[in-house]
């Protein structure tokens, strides 16, 4: 156990985490230079967006300069803001953390958030300044920022270029010397932390575990602490990074355990595996069921594809147990599902993955948060779908979820960001200056405002310099109304939205105006209305279509005519019917972009 080092790499998005992991894998001989970048980020989408969506782990043998042999376990962490809890669990499995800072970008919001998580978890932190090969590398500034923002001695930071390999050997040495070996004993009762899992068609759910004490081998019985379920171990092993079976996995080690667990919902990140012989072994502190924060409806474009969508979601959830879904039906869109996500980015990525990996064309309705709706009878319910809101006369008051948002930004952008955030009903609670050039703005921020395009706007008003991180903070009251949209007197449930009363009319007018442009003219006049209860607050009309005709028959070219009509028929197929009105799918995405 003296020769084991468990560590993770923490960084802001795109600071080079995956490239650094590649170099370490090459230097330790786990893989040969393949030219294929970012082994751990295996999904195309991960590479494209520069973020790790799914954490992976790998075990590397390493001979240090003094000739001793070590086992280095790199535990990857999900790299985006919606997954704070999952990151904290990955950190819990380590004794040390490599804190990676991009020399050209400096310390950013997630650098700080992740560094604090690591400090809280009691990890040894090895600061590393990466991308020193870049012409705009500002090593001294980074050292200063580490000192000022995090109290980490900047001079101790190692200088690395993961791209060309500079300094990676020194980093491996530092991991061996600085990160303490794991504690715990093989002789004590079994205690493992589940920090991730994936689904294998034949072997069921495979938890990724860090063993803190005891050991596991084929044939052992193991118990899931939170549920008391007992499983028989079928296989244990390490990640190389493929699954590599071994006879036993012991205290201090990182690996996986297969026990033919067929039910996806039975394994949760953060849970503890113990031995049924010692059922009183305490759980590893900090376990909680992660709660989805953002919801949206998804519907197949063709109602015939509902079964396909169901199958795709079932399969998808096996690999991302943090999404939740349940059946939902909409008068306009037919049968679909309501999906819950950890955050906005999680939602975007999931929808994109569903489309790509499962070949599903989808209509996603606007996202919603969970409102606490208190009714006049003194009860309250949690409602994640505006169309499920009770009648206004039955509502006593409504509360909305609020997050604690931290934005780090160069001082020259503080003005625009404050302006942007004010417009989003954000409350500034603190402004700090970690160094001369930058400010940290801390907000109480309504989550509902966050999910309507705040992040994109933050990036654009700061020309990409602002970075953010957030955590759930609680609920707060407000004067909310539900706005319904009516297309030719038919309410479109999927377009209802919740707004603070003050801005409801402005939003409604904007939406109606966009709808008017999106819905093509049809054979009859189409009134578009927005209403709070029975009161209409905005209206525009689409006048009836007057002309849609093919005139000339040039030398009998019938084929060309028919093809034009076929195209029209094809387009019609993609329309959704609201009463007699054909509504294009784009209309259902409107609210996402309403404020632009």
């Amino acid at each position: 156990m003296e020769n084991i080092r468990n560590f993770c790499i923490i960084a802001h998005i795109d600071h080079g985490k995956s490239t650094l992991a590649d170099r370490m894998l090459e230097l330790t001989g786990v893989l040969h230079t393949t030219g294929k970048p970012q082994v751990l980020d295996s999904m195309d989408l991960e590479r494209e967006r520069g973020i790790t969506i799914k954490a992976k782990s790998v075990r590397m043998p390493y001979q240090s300069q003094d000739g001793n042999n070590y086992i280095l376990n790199l535990i990857d962490t999900p790299g985006h803001v919606d997954f704070n809890y999952e990151v904290s669990r990955s950190l819990k499995a380590c004794e040390g953390a490599v804190l990676l800072v991009d020399a050209s970008q400096g310390v950013e919001a997630q650098t700080i958030a992740n560094a604090y998580l690591a400090i809280d978890a009691g990890l040894e932190i090895i600061p590393v300044i990466n991308k020193i090969d870049l012409p705009n590398a500002m090593v001294d500034e980074c050292r200063q920022q580490l000192q000022d923002s995090l109290g980490i001695p900047g001079n101790s930071a190692l200088l690395v270029s993961a791209k060309d390999g500079t300094g990676v050997n020194e980093l491996l040495e530092a991991i061996v010397t600085l990160v303490p070996p794991p504690k715990g004993s093989v002789d004590e009762p079994l205690k493992c932390l589940i920090f991730d899992s994936f689904y294998d068609t034949y072997r069921g759910v495979i938890p990724h575990i860090r063993v803190f004490s005891g050991s596991l081998k084929h044939g052992d019985k193991m118990m899931i602490k939170s549920t008391g379920q007992i499983h028989e171990v079928d296989e244990v092993g390490y990640f190389t990074p493929q699954l590599n079976p071994s006879n036993i996995i012991k205290a201090g080690e990182v690996g996986y355990v297969g026990a033919i667990i067929k039910k996806v919902g039975s394994i949760h990140v953060g849970d503890t595996i113990i031995s049924p012989d010692f059922p009183d072994t305490p759980a590893i502190p900090g376990f909680r069921h992660s709660q989805p924060m953002v919801f949206c409806g998804i519907y197949p474009i063709s109602t015939n594809d509902y079964i396909k969508l169901t199958a795709a979601l079932e399969k998808f959830q096996l690999n991302d147990s943090s999404i939740v879904y349940e059946k939902e039906s909409s008068a306009a869109l037919g049968w679909g599902y309501r999906l819950g996500f950890m955050g906005m980015l999680h939602m975007e990525i999931t929808l994109e993955r569903l489309k790509r990996e499962y070949g599903q064309e989808l209509i996603a309705t606007m996202p919603s948060v969970i409102y606490k709706v208190f009714t006049t009878d003194g009860q309250f319910s949690l409602i994640d779908n505006p169309s499920k809101f009770p009648d206004p006369s039955r509502i006593d008051h409504i509360e909305e979820p609020v997050i604690k948002l931290k934005v780090i930004v160069p001082t020259e952008f503080v003005g625009p960001i404050m302006e942007l955030s004010d417009a989003k009903r954000a409350k500034l609670v603190a402004m700090d200056h970690p160094d001369k050039k930058r400010a940290i703005l801390t907000y109480d921020f309504p989550l509902a405002e966050m999910i309507t395009g705040y992040y994109d706007k933050l990036k654009s008003v700061s020309r990409g310099y602002a970075s953010m991180d957030y955590d759930f903070a609680g609920y707060q009251g407000g004067d909310f109304v539900k706005v319904d949209i009516l297309v030719k007197e038919n309410q479109v449930d999927a377009l209802s939205f919740i707004s603070v009363r003050e801005s409801a009319q402005t939003k409604a007018r904007g939406l109606i105006h966009k709808l008017r442009k999106l819905i093509p003219r049809q054979m009859f006049e189409i009134p578009l209305q927005a209403a709070i209860g029975a009161k209409v607050i905005a209206r525009e009309d689409i006048v009836a279509l007057r002309k849609d005709v093919l005139a000339k028959c040039y030398g009998g070219d019938i084929t060309r005519k028919r093809k034009l009509l076929e195209k029209q028929a094809e387009g019609k197929k993609k329309m959704k019917m609201v009463g007699a009105v054909e509504v294009p799918q784009e209309a259902f995405l409107l609210l996402l972009k309403m404020e632009e």
Binding site: K547, D548, D557, R562, K572
Partner: protein
């Protein structure tokens, strides 16, 4: 019934709205082009036709000698003794007594004149090279030379056009006692000068619709029948060649960019003059043979363009079989329910109010697979 179409892809100047295949400043190519047409005709030698149509471009650019040699050549390849209608398209500026006499000598019995408007500002903005006086003179000349079947093309939606100016054009044309009128709405086709620089005074789509409705009233009051979406005729003067198109009939197209429909197969020549001159018999592209179901659908939607004749579902079923027309009938009935179509016995017709919004109806009849 079978038609023969001959495409003459030459113009003095391209009009601002035109995206047809025709080439300006190429009159030197007329002789070799006619030779090429006859070579291509030889590929189909022996066929007989009931209608013949010279379209363009500007077919009236051919000289009397060229016209005669073309027709003689065609008679050498085909059986033209059965012809009942021979049309030539002509532009006002190229119509003269010499040309008209040559046409009559060639047994051409119908002329379709590209008048478009009798307002000089409108003509100019459309890039036409004739003026109103020339157009009126051309029609009068055709009549006096002995042509008894005169058709005129009229455009709706030209820049600056108003109901007043359009009404004036139509009334003047009616006073010349023509037999047939094709009324087209201007559409901005990509890569045309008009689409690239649309003038501000271009009537809107809705204005076009208004103008069309009013024209229709005017024409019907004068005894014209609205027999096809874009075509009006005095009784007995419907264009037989075009009727054949809308009835799903056979036709052979000769020349660059010409389209054909022979034995259920649609095909087209490449729109390339140079290539056509080199190998007139090897230009076939876009060969399309639809399966029975789609063929039946195609015939349904084109027949529905015939506002008076309509689509006879019984005849369609006899031709294609109940298996392939059942679904069409269902769609037709849906359209009857919504008021888009009117059914009388076995015949479905477009509701008069839906003539200008017929595309969605046709699209609803096409199966989506």
């Amino acid at each position: 019934m079978r038609g023969l179409y001959v495409h003459i892809p030459f113009c003095v100047k391209k009009c601002a709205y035109c995206d047809f295949y025709s080439l300006p400043n190429c009159l030197d190519y007329l002789d070799p082009y006619i030779r090429a047409l006859l070579q291509e005709a030889h590929k189909y030698a022996g066929l007989s036709f009931e209608t013949l149509y010279f379209g363009g471009g500007t077919p009236s650019l051919v000289t009397p000698d060229q016209l005669k040699s073309l027709l003689n050549g065609l008679r050498g390849e085909f059986d033209l003794s059965t012809l009942v209608e021979t049309t030539i398209e002509a532009n006002p500026e190229s119509i003269n007594r010499e040309f008209l006499l040559a046409a009559l000598q060639c047994d051409i019995n119908r002329v379709s004149i590209g008048v478009q408007s009798l307002n000089n500002l409108e003509l100019k903005s459309a890039g036409r090279i004739h003026n109103a006086a020339q157009a009126i003179k051309a029609i009068a000349l055709a009549k006096s030379t002995g042509l008894k079947n005169i058709s005129v093309d009229l455009m709706i939606g030209l820049p600056g056009q108003t109901w007043r100016s359009l009404k004036h054009s139509v009334e003047r044309l009616l006073s010349l006692e023509i037999q047939h009128l094709s009324v087209y709405c201007l559409s901005l086709e990509v890569n045309t000068p008009l689409a690239e620089n649309p003038p501000e005074n271009l009537p809107s789509e809705d204005a076009q619709a208004d103008l069309f409705e009013r024209i229709r009233e005017l024409l019907q009051a004068d005894g014209f029948r609205h027999y096809e979406i874009s075509n009006f005729a005095k009784t007995g003067y419907e264009c037989l060649h075009n009727l054949n198109y809308w009835r799903g009939g056979e036709y052979l197209g000769l020349g660059a960019a010409a389209a054909s429909h022979i034995e259920g197969i649609r095909f087209k020549n490449r729109a390339n003059l140079e290539a056509y001159l080199k190998r007139p018999r090897g230009q076939t592209i876009e060969v399309e043979q639809l399966d029975i179901k789609h063929k039946a659908e195609e015939e349904s939607i084109i027949r529905l363009r015939l506002l008076e004749e309509g689509l006879n579902i019984k005849e369609l079923t006899n031709k294609y079989g109940i298996l392939f027309t059942q679904e069409i009938k269902t769609h037709l009935e849906e359209n009857v329910m919504s008021g888009a179509l009117v059914r009388q016995g076995n015949v479905y017709r477009l509701h008069p109010s839906r003539v200008l919004t017929s595309n969605p109806i046709f699209a609803s009849i096409l199966s989506q697979d």
